[in-house]
Symmetry: C2
Subunit: 542 residues, 2 copies
């Protein structure tokens, strides 16, 4: 490969960081978190401020992390990725062998020199098609069979075709166009579709079916369930269904869909929210211009991620802080704690984007990794989480590094002054207080009321959650995850770990098919799966 594939523990700075980690900065010492430290440990870009005085590090560690970024060529690899290098591969073994070009979807603002003209050109073509489609909806040129506007949109997709777009929809629903609502069907659980269908007027609903291959089990199954509901309602699905799929996939079929929008094999599902996968649904909900603002924010953050100085590159710094906490201080998990109810589903998106990217055990050279790779990512919005799991964050036997996300202003700006402060004040006060409390702790004579502190965390702050800042936040985490993968020397862009479950699911499905047909049960070939089906109570039913 043309890029740096040195393993983390073979980089020159590795041993230095190991030594520094033996005696990490004590956040709980009196005066440890001084005003100078707070003001000095801050990295800003694209309207986001990353405050990291509450991490267990000092200048020596920060210098070491800068060297780690330099020695691993993290930024150079990011640039290679943007230029279209085939980074989704494992050297010497069969692998996906694909480019990684989600950044090209938003590299549309520099007319003269996009990083990858081909992919950005394709993105622009799709955007133009979307612009036409959305304008027809607005102008009332595209209406249902009764001549009425479409008011609802059902997104049928799973994984990357669901989590990222859904997280962004919830994040920005304060900006929804009037009388536009979106619903989501993802799970193969038939109750998921049933609960959504129950409350819809199908005649005024568009259905977006999202599958790159056109063959995702859950998505095709749910599409058939919804098509059956249309048929039952005497409506023609062709007038309602839109395909978001790979060009020439089985779903790219004008006989069955009102329109087709294309996704490309150089964009992985979990990085596809800024492609047509998110665009069609978000364009319906928010309008075309708001979607372009999401792209603008993402593109600005993609550019900020090219900065080599980690104090001016929040995405890279966040990646390095994670590696410090995971690989050097030994923490296995990462809590994402947005102080914004609108970001309710953002942790679920990051669970996919991060854990599917970096939950790997093999390097890009096909060798077993020697240390820790991707963390377990989880989280819920604050202040809700404070009344739930923060007890463990403060006093549990496991240290959980946390990334707080907050905004200075609310979205609706519909607030109430109560006892001298607004709800937004109360939200922000709690956000800052938690960051400080986890770091400093507080001694108490009552051991049950004592706090050890030294629970590392960062604060990521911006003015307001808008389409632009949402785009930037999304891209910040995408870049963070890619940087970590580069430094761990793993392929963050495949997902071979999902294959074995698929194979075994097909075996169980074949068993269930046999049972349904009252066929002879031949236990000999697969005794375990038959035994499991029986123990789980499925055989006796038939």
């Amino acid at each position: 490969m043309t890029w740096n594939t040195t393993n983390l523990d073979e980089l020159p700075v590795y041993e230095k960081l190991v030594k520094l980690a033996r005696n990490p900065f004590d956040l709980a010492a009196p005066g440890a978190i001084s005003p100078e430290r707070i003001n000095g440990y801050k990295a800003s870009a694209v309207g986001f401020d990353l405050l990291f005085a509450t991490q267990r590090l000092d200048d020596a560690v920060i210098n070491g992390l800068q060297q780690l970024a330099d020695q691993s060529d993290a930024v150079e690899q990011f640039l290679e990725m943007k230029r279209g290098a085939v980074m989704n591969r494992i050297d010497g073994h069969a692998s996906e062998e694909r480019q990684v070009l989600h950044t090209a979807c938003r590299d549309i603002f520099n007319e003269s020199h996009p990083f990858h003209a081909g992919a950005t050109g394709q993105a622009k073509q799709q955007l133009e098609k979307l612009n036409v489609f959305l304008a027809e909806l607005v102008k009332g040129e595209l209406v249902n069979e009764q001549g009425n506007n479409f008011t609802d949109y059902v997104n049928i997709g799973i994984g990357g075709s669901d989590l990222g777009p859904r997280a962004i929809y919830h994040a920005l629903s304060a900006y929804s166009l009037k009388k536009r609502r979106v619903h989501f069907i993802s799970n193969v659980d038939p109750d998921d579709a049933a609960a959504v269908l129950e409350k819809l007027d199908l005649s005024r609903t568009l259905v977006g079916v999202v599958s790159k291959s056109g063959s995702t089990l859950e998505t095709l199954t749910n599409e058939e369930i919804v098509r059956a509901a249309y048929a039952e309602a005497g409506l023609n699905p062709k007038k309602h269904f839109v395909a978001i799929t790979g060009q020439a996939s089985p779903m790219d079929n004008p006989e069955r869909y009102l329109r087709s929008f294309y996704m490309f094999d150089y964009i992985g599902g979990r990085y596809s929210a800024t492609s047509m996968v998110g665009a069609v649904m978000l364009g319906f909900a928010l309008g075309y211009d708001a979607f372009i603002e999401i792209l603008r924010g993402a593109n600005d953050m993609d550019m900020a991620a090219e900065e080599r100085n980690i104090r001016r590159n929040p995405a890279l710094l966040l990646a390095l802080l994670g590696i410090w906490n995971h690989n050097f201080l030994g923490h296995e998990t990462l809590a994402i704690l947005p102080y914004s109810q609108a970001l309710l589903r953002f942790p679920a998106h990051l669970q996919q984007c991060d854990m599917e990217s970096n939950g790997k055990s093999v390097t890009r050279m096909g060798e077993k990794v020697s240390g820790f790779t991707g963390p377990i990512v989880w989280g819920e919005p604050g202040t809700n989480g404070q009344h739930a799991f923060y007890q463990l964050l403060h006093q549990g036997t496991t240290v959980v590094p946390a990334e707080f996300i907050g905004f200075r202003h609310s979205q609706y700006e519909d607030d109430l002054l109560l006892k001298g402060t607004t709800s937004q004040d109360k939200l922000v006060a709690n956000l800052l207080a938690q960051s400080l409390a986890l770091a400093t702790g507080k001694k108490n004579d009552n051991p049950n009321r004592s706090f050890s502190g030294n629970r590392p965390n960062t604060l990521l702050l911006s003015d307001k959650l808008t389409p632009y800042t949402m785009g930037a936040l999304l891209a910040l985490y995408e870049a963070k995850i890619a940087f970590q993968g580069f430094i761990w020397n793993i392929n963050s862009f495949d997902q071979e770990g999902v294959q074995l479950g698929k194979v075994l699911a097909n075996r169980f499905l074949a068993h269930l098919d046999v049972l349904r047909q009252a066929g002879d049960i031949d236990r000999e070939q697969h005794p375990e799966s038959w035994a499991m089906l029986e123990a789980a109570g499925f055989v006796k039913d038939n």
Copy 2:
């Protein structure tokens, strides 16, 4: 104290288990998961089957875990709890000093001998009051100022007054009464209330405000926001607001509320879903009889949890399997993976119930615990999670024990046969396949397509998610968490860890109040918090 307070590592069986853990059962060995093992490693009660052949243990470990249960008097402690012992305490230190009687809420079916007649009597009084209230709604005796039925209900509460009830509402919304919808406001983020209020017809909405003390910051703030919206709409809140609170709390005020329902200090917030905290909202949504079915399921599981043989007590067995994985095999986290979209928010409830209960570092004797206590609990429904974070579960560098939950039948029973199987078949096939795949793994010449297996998990199965089974599932996990706390010798019923954050939040609020009044900023007393406010960009705004 009158009950066993021996620490885990001082129990006779502890060293034996430590030795057994050095060489745990190899699930990935050929033929390791035999049909005999699958059929033999199963514990059933109250319509739930717990399959645990995919855990890393053999009969010697199971015997050791039975001894662990016996030597810690786990079941005796559970019985003490049900009888009203003051188990929420720390010996020798100031503590809450309360009974723990959530089980009394559902111990209403045995007329003659409830465990704690006083608490069960109070529960019955409240239920009777609720029955009257709900009947008035059904009969149209209790209507709004225009004589219309109430169609919507807003639950204002946070933590235990939100997560458990909300999880159950989502779990059972398939059984909702016609034209009854429930909405939730929890977060102090003003956008939470704004987003809910935007879509409501307040005139036909009841508002339930839930706070035991009548003084929860978030809840009172949100109540005022909603009251202001009523005032703005020219409606009288007194005709719409219901209080769920402690008797004689500031909220127990007939001048301000249509009705008051009481909660009691012997029921902790995270265990309160079967008290009036869940009852009023769930009764509105599902009807009185369905709520009683939830109680019946919970009570049946509470009784099953009295069984000393761990092979007949799924709650106790699940607790012990957790301790085996956490304390002996060294895993820090626990994934809760329901294969039921309706259980979407059940993991969030368990995050509170488990992590706030057992995220502790001090024993009931006020000593520092020597080992691991509560795990980090997280999860999302399958099959969605398969397309998100399962990559890490299968191939990551961290082993995540998993608890799968599934049902043989869907709720709506509205399904489609596609390629020989229904969606429910596909759901269940995936559930069983994941359990087996995580355990056995599969070798492959391509290292990136190789699965190490030995990722421990259990399968918890029942026929169908109904009010009864939901109640049983809730109680199963409540009992599991209590058993673990007994064995760890910690107080699972307080939450002192949330106090420091509250203190610091008040400091930041005072700072923000100073800024709002353009007062003099006196940095000297609290230089860190002022610096943080400034670094976070709040001072310059004023």
